[in-house]
Assembly symmetry: C2
Homo-oligomer: 191 residues x 2
């Protein structure tokens, strides 16, 4: 067996996020993280000041990935409806790609400073998307009978819910992301 | 000020569920429940054997309410698509009506006996709905290009997500439930 590569801050964050996603951040201890990493708690504290620092790095990864989507050309160019479609598909795909990070992000409640910062960044993301939905309604491309903020919440509620059940298996990331877009834009009714 | 009515097991369960929904079941202690109820822990143990018994009652309420929907005439009669539409609307409405109960149900992970029982009952509910979706696909009323189980997960993922943000406010329960049905069946694209 190959000896394990020494941990660095990034690989320790990977381990910690899997533990947080499984046990919940509040329910997880640094002992749990050390056990999952197979090293002593003292070795972890050599890399990082504590549990909240690991959470902060994980939330940063999740939010950086979400905001990077907004900078992609297809999220910036074209009609509001086509930008929205791109963003919804990429958010669903990113949620599955960074599953522990997004699982932890979707469950935080803003009780510590890192969590409050993350909640603020999520709200900023939601405001951008709500603005795009409002524009798509003005263009006549998106139905105007549902409040744009409620529309954003329900679409991303559907997308975010994959963290509750997804385990890499039969369904590919792409197939799930396309199903989210298909239902969000066209619903399940046959046409 | 009126003196508070003495607690019984049902009103204590109400208090406990609000505490569990706010702090998470694992993060909540019987001290938290006692503090929220404004009585001593000893008085609580006069009514109930412990935290898990309170959880069990709450999960029972949530699941009884969900299964009661399946017994409603509109969930039993008519085409599979119309039965599904009724179930989706009533599940969304029930989620908002029994918000603490459903919040706690949607977050459990099956670690204790009560939780495992509840997870089994939820799976049984999902199987009934997946069967109805399969029938609606055969009837040609629901699109056949998305796996019925994935369809069920995404629709209820959207509906369940209301527990993450809903506080009684501007939007009525009925308006939210109708928006869930509208997006699930017809999507957000203007027609």
């Amino acid at each position: 067996m190959e000896p394990r590569k020494p941990y660095d801050i990034d690989s320790l964050t990977d381990v910690a996020l899997r533990v947080f996603a499984e046990r919940g951040y509040d329910g997880a201890s640094m002992d749990d993280v050390a056990r999952a990493a197979g090293i002593t708690k003292a070795s972890i504290y050599h890399h990082v000041s504590g549990k909240e620092a690991l959470l902060e790095r994980g939330l940063g990864r999740a939010l950086d990935a979400l905001f990077a989507i907004l900078d992609e050309p297809a999220a910036r160019e074209g009609t509001a409806a086509s930008r929205l479609r791109h963003i919804v598909e990429r958010v669903a795909d990113t949620t599955l790609h960074l599953l522990p990070e997004l699982t932890v992000l979707f469950r935080i409640h803003g009780t510590s400073k890192s969590e409050r910062n993350a909640v603020d960044r999520r709200r900023a993301f939601d405001r951008v998307v709500t603005e795009i939905i409002t524009q798509a309604q003005r263009d006549g491309d998106v139905r105007g009978d549902i409040d744009p903020r409620l529309t954003a919440r329900l679409i991303f509620g559907m997308s975010n819910s994959v963290v509750e059940w997804y385990r890499s298996g039969n369904l590919t990331r792409g197939a799930i992301a396309r199903a989210v877009v298909a239902i969000a834009f066209d619903g399940i009714t046959s046409r």
